[in-house]
Subunit: 258 residues, 2 copies
DNA sequence: TGCTAAATCTCGAAC
DNA sequence: GTTCGAGGTTTAGCA
């Protein structure tokens, strides 16, 4: 929190004070946390109406708006970043209007009571890193192809074919072409169909035997059946082990460099 | 806000006070809003690390946890409803541990500074209604089949075929079978392929002509091309008009009942 | 519980 | 800008 722009906390502010604080916050791109009794209307891609009740509203410096109820992970109403904000009094209500262009969407929040209003500037340069994404799994397979099977040699990745991109493309120990489809979570039928589409595309362009391998931590029962019926293979690949392998590969590179 | 369990607001509380307030809130299932400087670790389906910075943390009465950065709609870290919560002191840090079983996941939030801590009970019985979902569009088409085309007669919906469920299944004015695939938003190539799969499944089971209609508010250019090349049709259907039609049908039912 | 399909999905990257 | 794919997706519905 910047010392020169400290946090402002108001308990049970009157409407006019809240209007001033909010518009000041919108102008200065301060973050807003608001707790109170409100109802919400939304019109845009769909329409919704939320009857009165006590909620938490967060308005961020980038213009994103979140209306949270007492339960659940998801906001009941929201507006993504970049919308224009306005607060005003309407009789005995505080109204916040958040408008997004393209697609045009309007969220209107009307407060009959405000229990808490706080505005502040958040300083946050901290880096966020997520391990074992699908990309990490791909990197790990390229760095250590034996994850797929002994003798597998990648020759390409993100290879473009008609329906999309092949995660990893290579040759097995017998010289057959291999299309590898990677999923970082349980593979479903959609993954099998995706792999099948890629294989069809490859078969249409080369006159050789083409194998398909679905690499994922798990596979659903139905997907397994479909995969088998199509003559394709499944290889269990653990995302955690992939991130460990990547870490080791990074270490190796540093050693090689020294 | 219940009068007997009023909102508690602490600005810059010390760690021990925050620990007490938090555990009290967890026990009493009070909602928590916390603003401060923290770092976050996550381990579960994946792993993540968030370096220190100022964030907003919301902990709801159902045990859901949200860590929000200064920007964006999505929380950077979270825990879905039903996780077990614990707050404790670790040297000069306030630590909040949120553990979920099945899948086992742990989010650990460590605060070096707390600017605002507020706990309260939210009373929220307000109803939420969203208009014009895909289901509403389906209902509207069943109630007024002419939305699709004159002479269209539905004979089934959510009909099971091998790859999934056909939204609406019927017969056109010439007696040809019709498979209708509904999308409440701009239809893409995936929608066309989904429709094509259903049609293939129907064609495999009956020895009759089968038409396919994609019903959506819009269709992407690529999807339109694919659709045309497959000899299928597109019918613009406005979700808003569907909800109006549904409303009128509801009115009619009430009138019929009276 | 597990799986499937939808979402005001969001978000980011590629075209 | 649009389009496409991934997500710790979440959520609801159903076998």
């Amino acid at each position: 929190m910047l010392a020169k722009k400290p946090m402002i906390v108001n308990e049970r502010p009157c409407i006019d004070e809240a209007v001033n604080r909010l518009n000041e916050a919108f102008n200065e791109r301060r973050t807003v946390v608001l707790v109170g009794n409100c109802w919400v209307n939304y019109q845009g891609r769909a329409s919704s109406k939320l009857e009165p009740g006590e909620r938490i509203v967060i308005i961020k410096e980038d213009g994103s708006v979140l209306v949270h109820r007492s339960r659940g992970y998801e906001p009941v109403n929201w507006q993504p970043p970049g919308c224009s904000l306005q607060a005003y009094r309407d009789n005995d209500m505080l109204v916040i209007r958040a408008v997004r262009r393209s697609p045009r969407e309007i969220v209107s929040i009307s407060f009959s009571q405000i229990y808490l209003l706080s505005t502040f500037k958040m300083v946050d340069e901290g880096e966020f890193s997520l391990y074992a994404s699908e990309e990490d799994m791909q990197k790990a397979i390229l760095a250590r192809p034996s994850i797929i099977e002994e003798g597998f040699r990648p020759i390409n990745y993100e290879k473009k074919v008609e329906p999309g991109f092949i995660d990893v493309y290579g040759i097995d120990r017998c010289g057959r072409l291999v299309v590898v489809e990677i999923k970082r979570r349980t593979a479903g039928k959609d993954s099998v169909l995706q792999l099948a589409k890629y294989i069809d595309a490859v078969r249409a362009s080369v006159n050789r035997e083409v194998r398909g391998i679905l690499a994922a931590p798990q596979i659903s029962k139905e997907a397994k059946q479909l995969l088998t019926s199509l003559g394709l293979d499944f290889k269990r690949v653990d995302p955690k082990k992939c991130s460990e392998i990547l870490r080791r590969e990074e270490d190796k590179k540093i050693l090689d460099f020294l």
